[in-house]
């Protein structure tokens, strides 16, 4: 997790947390919805990704007294948000480049 590019599941998990804090099941459903059903994460994959993101301090647990232990929400840290922005910029550049190349070939 030291460098970009990110894998698709990790990118989608980060995007899911970009808007608001979410717990595991909410992330799972949001990822499926964002990818229009194409990416369905298993709980093993999800918690592997969450553990790595926590280790790298890209996300953190939201400590709420009322939230039960099996539904702890996660949110992006400033570091995670910065890295997500970098990844989005990289993808934008790649998309722009691809569009240019394809247009040149067609012309």
């Amino acid at each position: 997790m030291n460098s970009l590019p990110l894998t698709e599941p990790v990118l989608l998990v980060l995007l899911s947390l970009a808007e608001q804090s979410r717990h595991g099941y909410s992330i799972l459903k949001d990822v499926e919805q964002m990818s229009e059903g194409r990416v369905k994460l298993s709980t093993g994959t999800l918690y592997g990704a969450l553990r790595r993101l926590l280790d790298e301090a890209w996300i953190e647990r939201v400590e709420e007294d009322e939230s039960p232990r099996d539904r702890r929400p996660y949110r992006l840290t400033s570091r995670g948000r910065r890295n997500l922005q970098l990844e989005v910029q990289r993808l934008k550049h790649l998309t722009k480049l691809a569009a240019l190349r394809i247009a040149r070939k067609e012309a």
């Binding site: 709980t43 093993g44 918690y47 280790d55 099996d70």
Partner: protein, 169 residues
């Protein structure tokens, strides 16, 4: 399916289980309830995905701990004796076992060359012999695991941490 899920979670390192098992089970239950309303194909796909996801996740977690790339290792029960995870003597023992296997193969070749056709009948009984050996090995591993598990439960390994000079207040 939840029972199988709980069972498969035991493949994960204890530190991961302590930290995430409850959450994973809760998320799995919610996801299973969702899929329960779907078609048979969706249910099979869900179960396959979950099983493979858990197996792959467990392997990755063990590899992560084995390679020692993460500070999360310090949450494991055997931190008090880090050498327990992979003692240096293991390398020596593995070398000895490897040499033993090589010698056994060489001896087997010599026996085959000496007795020729008589060895054909021996090969007929080999699958049974191999199965029996494998079963014994499984039983032995299960017994050792049960002993270690029972010791872990009793907390005997923590006795080494007691400092005799300290008085309790």
């Amino acid at each position: 399916m939840t029972c199988l899920y709980r069972f498969l979670l035991y493949l994960y390192p204890p530190s991961h289980r302590r930290e995430y098992a409850e959450e994973m089970i809760a998320v799995f239950r919610d996801a299973q309830a969702d899929v329960g309303l779907g078609s048979c194909r969706e249910r099979i796909s869900f179960r396959t995905r979950e099983t493979l996801g858990l197996l792959a996740g467990a392997v990755q977690e063990h590899l992560r701990i084995f390679s020692g790339r993460s500070p999360m290792i310090s949450f494991t029960r055997y931190d008090m004796r880090p050498e327990f995870r992979f003692p240096k003597s293991t390398v020596f023992l593995m070398s000895v076992i490897f040499c033993g296997v090589m010698i056994a193969m060489k001896e087997a070749s010599a026996v085959q060359a000496k007795y020729g056709s008589a060895s054909d009948s021996m090969w007929r009984t080999f699958p049974g012999f191999a199965g029996l050996t494998f079963s014994f090995a499984l039983v032995a591993v299960a017994i050792v695991w049960a002993i270690l598990f029972a010791l872990g439960r009793t907390g005997v390994h923590r006795l080494a941490n007691i400092q005799p000079g300290l008085k309790q207040e």
